[in-house]
Symmetry: C2
DNA sequence: CAGTGTCTACGAAGCCGTTCGTAATGTCAA
DNA sequence: TTGACATTACGAACGGCTTCGTAGACACTG
């Protein structure tokens, strides 16, 4: 047994912002993350560094420190983290019912045509199969 | 001008739990909220009281203190708060695109038939109108 | 009135997240 | 080697959230 399943903690706001950079850019140094984040934000370099150190301790990111400049990458896939966050919001604010959440999301923002088609397919699968 | 628009702050975890009780039960005393929350939880009476006092200061709830036992009610509708939370999650984790969030929600939880029908209607409205 | 119970008010502690200043370490060029 | 620069490590401060203990105000009963 090389590894017991340990669920990753829910990333905080600042941590999620960093994860999004890593998901978009791929493995990155502190400097690269810092520059990517400071488009519109205003955060110090050591703040990003410190947060990445904390995230490493939490297991949210994986650090390659074989070179002097460490390189970080996400420990979880974007979609898994998204699922985690959706599940949490569902429980905390929607009593676990997905329908209301989806309606609000559709109301608020537009989805792409491909996404809408995909949503219809999922609705068909969930509803149409056994009427 | 009796009142300038001041957007309510996003409720925290404990605050949201209390709001859900108030939305479900209607105007309630501290004791009623406390009893409703302590199904499965274990929170002290004064903890609930203190949180409600803070929520009053924030404007999240409205307090009727004409009687000795104060009565609290939500300042915002459930649906407005839900929309606020969905919007926030959309921006923080989904780059503002509703489609991915909806797909995750559909994957994770089942929606009711009425809700699914409503979702289809919204998809029709959003997609069919301008092909 | 005295006692008992309920309620609100207040302060403080503990934890977590965020931020940053400073120190220590490593790198490279002149 | 020395100096300049980049990078990591560490500690501390600050604020927000959550929790609760204690005190004070009020009400009712006998």
């Amino acid at each position: 047994m090389p590894r017991t399943k340990k669920p990753l903690p829910r990333p905080t706001r600042a941590e999620l912002a960093i994860l999004r950079v890593l998901w978009d850019r791929g493995p990155s140094s502190v400097r690269e993350v810092h520059e990517a984040i400071n488009v519109g934000r205003e955060t110090g370099y050591t703040t990003v560094l410190k947060t990445l150190q904390i995230m490493t301790a939490k297991g949210l990111v994986i650090r390659d420190d074989t070179q002097r400049t460490h390189v970080f990458q996400p420990a979880a896939q974007r979609s898994d983290t998204q699922r985690q966050l959706v599940t949490e919001l569902l429980d905390r604010a929607f009593g676990g019912s997905a329908g209301q959440l989806i309606l609000h999301a559709l109301e608020t923002r537009r989805a792409s045509h491909e996404e809408m088609a995909e949503i219809r397919r999922m609705l068909d699968r969930a509803e149409g199969k056994k009427p």
